[in-house]
Each structure stands twice: as C-alpha cells, then as structure tokens.
C-alpha cells in the first residue's frame, strides 16, 4: 500500500503527494511549466488538453482537464512536450494545420494517438477519430489533409519511445485535507471501503465527475477507483451476451461490439470523442443514469442485467428495474456495479441518437426500437426513449399496440401518435418540448422506412 502516486510523464518518473493528488492533470502540468497542454472548456468537449495515456502497449488520447491526478497512479503519460517533432507535427506544419495554435497541441497529441493503432489514416478515419478536438480557425480541412498525408511507417509507436513502465501493482490510499482516495487491487477491499465511507464516489473515467470538480466545486470526502482490480477488466462473450466488467472502457466495448452488435457499435461510434471513450466506462454510463445516456435505450430493450456487489453479497438487477426516478437508482450507497451482462439482440433493431451536432454532442433524444417479427407481422416490440422523461423510458402502450400488427406505414404512423401521447418531455437548452414530441412521433416512421427498404 502506497501513500503517494507514482507516474511517468514523458518517460520521467514523478511522485505526487498531498494536495497535488487531487489536482486535475492539466492544472498540475501547467503549474509545472508544461504549458503546451491548454485548458479551454474544462469539460472534455474541446480536446485542447489532450494527453496520451498508456494502456497495454498503446498510448490513448484522454482529456487531461477532467482527469484528476489520482486516476493516473502507475500510468505512463505523454504530453505535447514529449512528442519531439514527429511526422504528424511535420505534416501539420506543411499543411497549415495550425493557425492560432491554441488547439494545436491537443490535435497533434490526438493525431499521434491515431497512429498508435494504425499505420495510415484516411479521411473517414480522421473525421471519426478527431471529433473530440475543436478548432475555430482552420475549418478542419487542412487538419484532415495533414493527417492523411502522414506516410505509412513514419510514426514510431510511443511505447518504443517511452518503454518505461511502473510495475508495482500496489494499492494506493491517500488522505489530504479531509479527502481520501483509495485504489485497491481487490474487489473485497473496494467493497469494504465502500461500506466504510459514505458518501463515497466511484471514479473510473470520471468524465462526469471531472466536470463536476471543475464546474460545481465538487469534492467528495472519499473517492474510490476500481481501475487496479484486474477481474473487473473482463470483457467476453458468454451464451448470447457480452459480459463487461466495470473497468471496461467504452472504446473497448465499441471494438468488441463491432461484429457482435453492429447497431450498438454504430451508436458507440458517435457516442463521444476518442478521448471520452478511452476514459469512460459502460458501468459509468449506467451509474450516471442520465435520461439521455446513449447506451441505455439499447440496454433496456435488450434486457441487460447488472451485477451489483457489496460486502453482503451479489445480486442481479434487470436494468429495466434499475432506474427509479431522475438519478434515483436501485443501488444502495455501499453497493458497486461490478459487471454488466449485455444480451446480443438478433431481432430487428435500430438505435437513434438525435443531437444538435452529430458528433460529440449530448443527445436531445435517443431511442431503441426492437421488433420480433414473423411474415410481415410484429410478434413483440420493445421501445425505449431517452430525453423524454426523468429516466430512459420504456413505451408500454406503444409496445402493446404494435404486438400483432402488420408491418406497414399506417401501423407506425399510429404507433408514433401513441408514443407521443405516452410521454411528457420538458424544454431545456438541448431542445423544446414540441421538438421532442415530434421526434418521438417521427422516429417510429423513420424506423419503418429504414426496415422497409
């Protein structure tokens, strides 16, 4: 057990203690003069603070403004200052990929990260992988050109440049100014801690908690990280379902669903940026419980099961029973979601995410529509909508109406009107009540035309 953090930055080891343990990574770096890492939005939406963090043999981009130092124990991090002058940077210079330069360090770090898993980047790849970086000057086109012009084989893998690792797999317990951080190596220790400290916030990706820290002066007395618990990293297929441990990142899940649940893979693809998905977890998305959580509609129509553990034992909860109200869950303060069992749906299935901007935008409305059919007739329907109520909602009336109906335009137009009557959305900054009602109605028609053609 250690009482401080150990981490590598650009190959150099640092020990971090006391107050610094609770600083954000971006602030910590900048306070030490590493000002190439910029802070702009402090909420993981602009990417100017992007750094690379090693996972296995790969260095992945994450937003350092919403990561706290304590999340990085044992990690190897590369900042823009550690890149030298690689082929991405040279290409950015040659193609005028930088104008004012403020977003540029974040871009070159994220672009370097792209080349950790591939030798060459084409335009669709650049567009997909860089949605987490905002640029206000270039119109992105020069950046796309710069990414695509990097020659195959010209980028060295980061682990060759920074081969050092910190291998002591010790648990970490740090107390400072009344705050406690604990990163145990066993689930039992985690459960004991969770029982002892109330309230205790679990920080995994902290893609939400990091924003609360920056913008709501959030400070929990106790913070618990599960990241050192090896068994929670499991990700496997088991009897028609994907089993994902609490440590599984959204990036890992995205890649694992590619062939198994292509429709969920598509939504995970536009779920958020690479930076967010590398940090965020499926369990976190569930436990955050936002009514517009992008994975939730699928999990509901698929009937995902949550494995919830505590010192008292383990229980299974159907996700359809988990949400009790706005951010109210069937989860006691001392319990932890340790695994999620995600059934692989083979019925007719479509998922929808409607947001102002297609990429990296919190949804105004989400939907999952699942049908089992025989010979042009609907046997059963499962429909979940997000953004229309305090929780993601199953549309019981619409589901019962659809059962037994023929698949035609009339059926879905009527279903749309029933769906509209079944919900009572609110107006907020992401969309008006009328807009959401119209989407709720239209999405069933859209679904019909998509499955009919």
């Amino acid at each position: 057990m250690r009482d401080h953090l150990r981490l590598l930055i650009n190959g150099r080891e640092h020990e971090v203690r006391g107050r610094d343990v609770f600083a954000t990574v971006a602030n910590w770096l900048r306070a030490r003069g590493a000002t190439g890492t910029k802070i702009v939005c402090e909420e993981g939406d602009c990417g100017a603070c992007t750094v690379l963090i090693r996972r296995g043999e790969t260095f992945l981009p994450v937003n350092s403004c919403i990561q706290s130092m304590f999340q990085l124990d044992g990690a190897s991090i590369v900042t823009v200052e550690g890149l030298g002058m690689n082929a991405v940077q040279q290409s950015m210079i040659a193609h005028h990929g930088a104008q004012c330069g403020y977003c540029t360090p974040g871009f070159v770090v994220a672009m370097t990260g792209m080349f950790e898993t591939r030798d060459h980047v084409d335009e669709p790849c650049a567009r997909a992988e860089l949605v987490g970086n905002l640029c206000r000057c270039t119109g992105y086109e020069p950046i796309i050109k710069a990414a695509c012009a990097v020659e195959s084989g010209s980028m060295r893998r980061m682990h060759e440049i920074y081969p050092q690792t910190i291998d002591d797999d010790q648990s970490v317990l740090i107390e400072d100014e009344g705050r406690t951080f604990f990163a145990p190596t066993t689930l039992d220790d985690a459960l004991t801690f969770k029982r002892k400290f109330k309230p205790c916030t679990i920080v995994q990706g902290a893609t939400d908690v990091g924003v609360w820290i920056n913008k709501r002066a959030y400070s929990a007395a106790a913070m618990l990280s599960l990241s050192k618990i090896a068994e929670l990293r499991e990700l496997r297929e088991d009897e028609g379902a994907i089993v994902a441990g609490a440590n599984v990142s959204l990036t890992e899940l995205e890649s694992f669903t590619r062939d198994r649940i292509p429709e969920l893979h598509r939504i995970l693809n536009i779920f958020g940026s690479a930076q967010i998905k590398n940090a965020g977890t499926l369990a976190g998305n569930i436990a955050n419980g936002s009514p517009i959580g992008d994975t939730l509609p699928y999990l509901m129509v698929a009937g995902a099961m949550l494995e919830i553990a505590s010192v008292d034992g383990t229980r299974l909860v159907d996700i359809n029973q988990f949400y009790k109200g706005y951010k109210q869950f069937d989860l006691a303060p001392h319990e932890i979601i340790v695994r999620v069992r995600v059934p692989i749906v083979r019925d007719t299935l479509k998922l929808y995410k409607v947001s102002r901007r297609r990429d990296l935008d919190i949804s105004a409305f989400t939907a999952a529509i699942r049908l089992s059919t025989t010979d042009g007739h609907i046997n059963a329907a499962a429909i979940a909508y997000g953004g229309v109520a305090p929780t993601v909602l199953r549309l019981k009336n619409t589901e019962s109406f659809l059962a037994g109906k023929p698949i035609n335009a009339d059926t879905f137009e009527t279903a749309g009107r029933i769906a509209r009557d079944e919900i009572a959305p609110i107006s907020d900054v992401r969309g008006s009540r009328d807009y959401r009602l119209q989407l709720a109605e239209n999405i069933l028609c859209k679904f019909y035309y998509e499955i009919a053609t």
């Binding site: 003069g33 000002t35 190439g36 890492t37 910029k38 702009v40 939005c41 402090e42 909420e43 939406d45 100017a48 823009v80 200052e81 002058m85 950015m92 210079i93 040659a94 193609h95 005028h96 930088a98 104008q99 004012c100 330069g101 403020y102 977003c103 360090p105 070159v108 567009r127 997909a128 860089l130 949605v131 970086n133 905002l134 640029c135 206000r136 000057c137 119109g139 992105y140 086109e141 020069p142 796309i144 002066a217 929808y352 947001s355 102002r356 901007r357 297609r358 990429d359 990296l360 935008d361 105004a364 900054v429 008006s432 119209q438 989407l439 239209n442 999405i443 859209k446 035309y449 998509e450």
Partner: protein, 776 residues
Amino acid sequence: MSSVGRNIPHDSARGHVTGESIYVDDMPPLRGEVIVDFYWSPVAHGRIRSVDTTAACGVPGVVALFTHHDLAHNLFGPTLQDEVLLAEDVVMFIGQPIVVIAAESRDAIKAAKAAIKVEIEPLEPVFTIDEAKKRRDFIGPVRHIRRGDLARGFAEADHVIEGVWINGGQDHFYLESQAAIAVPGEHDQLTVHSSTQNPSEVQHVVAHLLGVPINKITVVTKRMGGGFGGKECQATHPAAIASLVAQKLKRAARIAYSKDDDMCVTGGRHPFQNDYKIGFKSDGTITAAKIDCYSDGGAFNDLSTSVMGRAMTHADNAYYLPNVEITGTVCRTNYPPNTAFRGFGGPQGIITIENALEEIAYFLGKDPLEIRKRNCYGIDDRNVTPYGQTVSNNHLPQLFEQCGEQAEYAKRVTDVGAFNASSKTHVRGIAATAVKFGISFNTKALNQANALVNVYLDGSVQVSTGATEMGQGVNTKIQQIVADEFGIDPELVIVMATSTEKNNNTSATAASSGADLNGSAAADACQKIRAGMTEFAANYFERITGLEASQEHVVFARGHVFDDRKPDERVPFHAMVKMAYLDRVSLGERGFYATKHLDWDADTGAGTPFLYFTQGVAVSEVELDRFTGHMRVLRSDLLMDIGKPINPGIDRGQLTGAFIQGMGWLTNEELRYDAQGNLLSHSPTTYKIPNIGDVPDVFNVAWIDAENALNIRSSKAVGEPPLCLAVSVYMAVKNALSYVSGTEIPKIDAPVTGENILMRLTHYTRTLARNGVAVA
C-alpha cells in the same frame, strides 16, 4: 526566387505543434503576482442599492477589492463614450463587472465572490429587438443610404415581395479566452501583456481609466489564440481591470477568463431583424429595394454603429439595386454589448438580399441562380453601389459562371429534384450565393499603419508593426513581403511581438486589412532602408566594376546585392549591410502607409468607403432528414477572387476556416437564454461550434487568377469575405424546404438547427396535408 506567392509555413507553426508557443496565461507567474477576477451583475437590468465587500475583504487569500470609485475615469468606448468599466448605480446586463477582486489564489477568488453582497433592485429588462423598437431605445442615429426613386421603382415592378430576415447571434469561441497580465514598472509605468487585436486601444483606454498619460502604458501582444473580432474592443476590459489592480497594489496582476465566464460576459455577433420589400419585373430584375436593418446592439454601443454601417453597405451584396433605400437602427437591449465579429455586419446585410433573391426565384418559379445572375453587378454598366462607389475590377459575372460550371450546378439541380421525388426519408437542397466584400475600415482614419524595420549586422531583420497575430498569418505575409524587399530568404526575417512601444496609434487588426495596411507600411520602411543602401552600393559597385555609379541598376535579389550591368560582381546581402553600416548608413527605418482614394460620409450614406472588393461565389448542397430535421452538408464549392495571394497556403486556410465558421453561425450555433437573460449555452457542451464531422463531405476551395493593382503585391484581403459564402448552406436548406412547402415560399430563421428544420418540415407537411396535397 520571390518569397511572396510561396506557400511557406506559418511563422509560429513550429512552436504551435510542439506546444512551445506562449500565450498570455502560459507566461510563468511573476514575483508577487496576484490573480484577478471580478464579481459581475447577476441581473440584466437594475439599480444598485448597495455594494458590501466587507466580508469578502476578510476571506483568506484575498488581497484587495476595487469598485468604480477606484478608477480615475470610468466612461469609455471605441466610438461613442457610453460604456462604464465597472457599474456605478445601474447594471445593464448579466456579466457586467461591479467589483474587481485581487487574490493570491483562484480558491480565494471563488470564496470572495460568494462573500460579496450586492443589492440590486430589478428594472424591466429589454431582450428583443421588437421591444427596443417599441420603446424607441436606440444607440446612435438612424442612418440611411438612398439612391434613385423608390416610389418609381416599385411602380415599375410587376411584383413585390416582403418579409423579415431574422438571424441569431454567435459567440466568437476563440479557444484562448480573454486574458491579460499587467506589470507595474518605474514611475507609474505599466506594461500590459494583452491578448488583444488592438494594442493601441488597450493602451489608450487603460491610460484614460487610470488617469495617466498614454506614454506611461506599454501594451504587448505576442499572439492570440484566436480573435475573430472578439478581441478588437472587448480585450480592453480584462486588460483595464488587471491594470487597475497593478496600479493600486504595485504588484503584477493576471486575469484569465474561464470559457464559461468569457461566453457569459462578452458580446458576439449581432442578431439582426431586417424588414425587406423588393419590387421586381417578371423576369426577376429588381426595380426597387427597401431594406430596414435593425440590430441587437446589447447594452452599450461598443462597435454596433460601425457594424451597422457595414451591414448597410453590404445589403446590396453582388446585386444592382437601381432604386433603393437602406436604413440602419441599432437597438439597445440588456445583453452584453455585441461587438466586432468576422464579417462585421457584412454577413447580416448580405444574407438579407440573398434571401430575398431566393424568394423572388420561388415566387416566379425560376432558377435562383438565374435570378442572381440577372441582378448581378455589371462590368461596364449597372455597376454602381447604392452609396455611389463603382464596382471596379468586377469578377462577379465570371465567378457565377465558372463556379456554377465547376460545381455542375445545373445537373445537380435536376438530381436534387429527382432525389426528392423518390426519397421518403430525406430531402435535399442546393443553392449558389455570392459575396462582394468591401475592403477598408469605413472610418477613414483607421486606414493607416506604421512599421519599424531593423536590419542587423549579419543581415538578419526584425520587423515590428501594429498588426497582431491571431492565427491568420499576417506575420508570415509581412515576413514574406519584407524578405522580398531585400531579396533575402524569409528565414532571415522575424516579425516581432506587437508593442505600442514600437508602433504607436495603430488600428485594430481587423476588417481583413491587417496584411494590406501593415504589409504596405513594412514595405515602405524597407524601401527607405534600401534607398540608403542603394546609394552606398551604387558607389561601391563603381569602385569595384569601374561602371559609372547608378542607383537604378542596383538590385537586391537572391540573397545578394549587385549592379545588374555586372551581376557577377555580387555581394551577399549581409556583407553589403556590414559595409553600409561602416559607412554610417541607416539600417533601421519606420514606414508609413495611408490608404488612398477613400471618402465616406456616414451621415449622407454616400462616398467611396472601400479601396476594392474581395469577391466570391459558392454552391452548397445539403440533405435534411425528414423525420429528425438533422442536416448534413453534402458538398460545397467555393470560388473566389482574392487577387494574387501572398501565401496561398495561408489564404486557403482563411477560406476553409471562415466558411466553416460562417456555417456554424447559420446552422448549429445558438445562444439560448432563460427568461431572466442568463445565457444557458455558455460552454461547448451546449454551444456547438462545427467540429471535424461537420466539414462538407466534398469541399472544393479555389480562386481565379486575378490582379489587384490597388493593393500590395496585387493581393487581396481574405479574412472575412469567405465567411459570407456560408450563406450558400443556409440557402440550400431553404431550397430543400421549397420542395415540401408546396406553393408557399419557405421561411426559416437562422440558425437552421435540427430543431428549427424539423419544426418547419412539420409545419409544411401539416399545411399540405390540410390542403389535401399528397406528401412524398
């Protein structure tokens, strides 16, 4: 080889990609430095009853608090002196500074903000242009531009359309939020490091508010992390606030807004609400146009009256309006003062007439591009603007023709029609729009610049001008211009940080004119140095070659100086510099430039406000999801006349960047407020600027081969004009709606968000269903 015209990298590119480039808040803390922030009004309009800072003073880490009582003067403003730095008895918008806080840490500032007690009695706020019109609460005079006989023009018309153009505002969203560091010096002097487009204005305002002579204040701007107009006037506030603290405490003072605060307290692009009434013949030729522009100026003028001037002088855009009246009224509301934003009112004027032309086409059932071409300014006739300036060197007809061909407009219009007839799920639209953007500040005095060029003994050169670098590449262009003046490699030229110590009374780097004005002034300084060196060199070559000394034959090229009658006897530039120095020739000079031919009278709305016009045409195609309203830009083709670019790579980046920024304004960027006037979309989570996925699937950017004898090295200003071409995206959405609106002319306000589009689609679908028309 000439340096101008070459695609060399941005002079800061290396520092940008390595993270070495330093911005204000990257500067290491100075000894004794305090952090500065301010407590702002939480009420949009109200009377201050009391300000109690006692408790805040006692917060650990708080060093001092200041109010307007601590300023020598409080009133300022770039054109009208109508703005206070710190609120006195009345607050005019949410975000208006009331109390300045100096502290040892950010935590202390947070605690101090919570401890400050300000009692405000609310007054009724004004949040809409309509409400301000009703109250006749305007800023500055109502201005007019008139030409011809409006009544006769309408009498000659076969048809008349009327409508209201409405667009929303836009946040600059420069990545680097406002920041300044003020450092006290000897004898009440202050050095201010400011992220500003306008160091001289910061200098003048700080001196005025602190009550010291201007020469006590030095403002330095190394670079900005984006400006876009947002740091033309509104960088002054943080700089002045930090300077007040530095003056009072004799300690360095740093202020750096958070992105949320920046978005809440600063103004942006002006929302406009323009009434238009256009008369036209059955062939689409406009005979009369009445356009009444109303902008939301916010609480104080800032640059609103000037922005309105540019909106009015761009309400014709590319089109000849024979009988015309344009009026401009700035409305006062209780929002932060709106300010300069790339385009400076031009886009709001341009889109009004473009929208009207689109509607004329729908009214007549004709192709909108045909209607635009019919009304386009001519080469030899129909080429005088409503304010009396002739559109010379006019490439608009060629641009319409050529861009239409390159984009395969005619074929794609047919394709769009066929697609819309068959698709149940999507509807497409296509549109071509133009830009004719006047280059020069409307305010004549601003069209001047000075430059300082120093040549060192090894032949290396430093250049200082009033231009500020915000990513647009002005320094690189100046570097290239100066390199060519001496015939040397651009690597030998460094453009220095902008400082009021070296360049005085400079204009804002704005109105796209940074390179025009400062590049010309730098060239003038180089020419003065060269004159001295040439005189020396002519005599030198006489001694070496025996030829009679002739200054006309001395050439600076390819890194050497030589007599072109005997080019083999050449001397490296650095060697000639050394010899000239020993002969006591001046190797540092100041250059000056004042734009000629300008003459503008805002009161009569007539004259020649612009040196020339930058022009362009764009064709865009979009696809709307009939069920969600989601919009995607399938393709955009831009074709422009930007003269001969000094750096084609940099200019290309201005085209792509401006276009996407304009697209953001018209599509997804929406400032949403609550009923009390609080901005709800104050961070990128809720305020969505375009990201990489929003770039059109196909994006072609090009320019024609054209000269511009009126400007340095035949170049043209390029910063703002391409932003106006994003109007083509808006218009393509309108075009798509025309396929579902039946016989109605489709209407949609900007921005065309997915929600806005879906509600319009729904409206038209329902209207048609009611009228018994089958909907595809």
